[in-house]
Amino acid sequence: MNIKTQALSGGFGEPVFESQSVFRMLMDGMARPGSIRSVEPDVGQPDPFGGAAGAIALTLCDHETPVWLSAGLTKTAVPEWIGFHTGAQITREKAEARFAFVEAGATLASFGLFSAGTQEYPDRSTTLIIEVAAFGEGQTLTLTGPGIQQTTIVKVKGLPEVFARLWADNRALFPRGVDVVLTAGKSMLCLPRTTKIAIQ
């Protein structure tokens, strides 16, 4: 399939109900950080986009939300696919982006250039959707914070190397800061800025 055809295919079969179900997973995921959920609908997203990342883009992005894509995604059909299905503008300015998508294995040097919001309006910050290799294997993350009764322990394979430091810097900005959704294929795990992470 050439890029043009890929960009026009896929999408939600039942946009109203499927976007509602994906949103509820995101909402419950943000409310209970570290819980792993799998999206059901198949959205026919182009490689190297994961199923969950594609579904999140369709659920939350529209003409009001500039989207930033990592280098590995911009060279594929992903920008056209997002543009066609959601109407979102692709931006090269990290600070402008409401959503940022990062493909698996991409180097992530800093969250610093993404918008962290302002002290008055901390909600005006970027949400990053980062693809990882897998959940259930790899590094062990111990999570605490709002939404977690005691601690939640998750295993994540393929986190960006410097993630622990990036997250500690992000935590220090509170109430400003970015929020992160980790995706692996059709699964997702939310890390709102309030979550404290200890990585072993």
């Binding site: 109203v16 109900f17 409310a31 008055e120 909600d123 939404g147 009764q149 800025r193």
Partner: protein, 293 residues
């Protein structure tokens, strides 16, 4: 679904839902912070729960079971009309039983029965800004939240004590969420404040006229503001519910005649009915007492 032809599912258009959904996600990520959103006109007046209705409309799905309460009651005007609204525009199942509901929209009460992990509580909020009556300018209150400058609120509580000998606020009692933002828990009686603390359920707040959405995630600290020597206290009732005999629940006073006759009944109608079904009897329903008279 053919009977829904006149409206999109749950009334709101999809772009509006996306906008509200994005606001809800940020609200959960910053507990107690009021996220501005582009509140829409709803087919009911401001003050009738347009904020709560928009939040519910954005999160509800065909599998949800909705319960709506107004001051704890399922059978009052506001609750009945909002429930009917969602039956019409979303065709969802509705219930009055707290335990059966997945979404509970409320105007100022938290059900007596403990909420579970699979439930979401949606509050209808009239004035979301706890500092508004102390400082009318939005620019200033926003700065106070930004700088975590809540001295004014403590002065207000202190003045209460100086004037009345106690903190006289009985509803919309200010709370601090996760040690950061001071939040208005909507005009719930302060009796319900402790239920917000470390709740199993997600709590969402929608203010339609004031265009704000905020949230308290599950298992989050919610502390009612107080002083060491004047600790926070909830209302205590000397009577039991006259119908079901419940003790330690929030009671409404009902005037019965013009000779000073009155009764106290559970504000949570579902809780009261459930207790009576299980054989609990209050003093006004007790047959033994009637026989003795």
């Amino acid at each position: 679904m053919t009977d829904l032809a006149t409206y999109n599912f749950a009334y709101l258009d999809e772009q509006t839902k996306r906008m509200i959904r994005r606001a809800i996600l940020k609200a959960i990520a910053i507990p107690g912070y009021q996220v501005p959103f582009a509140s829409r006109e709803m087919p009911m007046p401001y003050g009738w729960g347009t904020g709560g209705v928009q939040v519910t409309a954005s999160i509800i799905g065909p599998e949800d079971v909705l319960k709506v309460i107004d001051q704890g009651a399922d059978d009052t005007t506001n609750a009945v009309s909002i429930r009917a609204f969602f039956q019409k525009v979303a065709n969802v199942a509705v219930t009055t039983h707290t335990s059966d509901a997945t979404i509970i929209q409320t105007r100022h009460r938290i059900p007596e029965q403990k909420l579970g992990e699979n439930q979401v509580l949606v509050y209808q909020v009239p004035i979301p800004e706890p500092l508004r009556f102390l400082e009318p300018r939005e620019t200033e209150t926003r700065k106070m939240h930004a700088l975590e400058e809540y001295g004014l609120m403590h002065v207000k509580l202190y003045e209460d004590i100086a004037h009345n000998g106690r903190i006289s606020k009985t509803y919309a009692y200010p709370v601090k969420v996760d040690g950061r933002y001071v939040m208005d828990p909507s005009p719930t009686p302060k009796f319900d404040n402790p239920k917000m603390h470390m709740s199993d359920a997600l709590q969402l707040f929608g203010a339609g006229r004031e265009k704000r959405i905020y949230a308290v995630p599950p298992y989050t600290e919610v502390v009612s503001l107080d002083f060491e020597d004047y600790p926070f206290e909830i209302q205590k009732f000397e009577q039991d519910c006259a119908l079901c005999g419940a003790h330690g629940v929030y009671l409404d006073e009902v005037v019965l005649d013009d000779k000073g006759g009155r009764m106290f009944v559970c504000s949570d109608t579902d809780h009261c009915e459930d207790r009576r079904e299980h054989g609990h009897v209050g003093e006004m329903l007790a047959p033994s007492k009637e026989a003795a008279e």
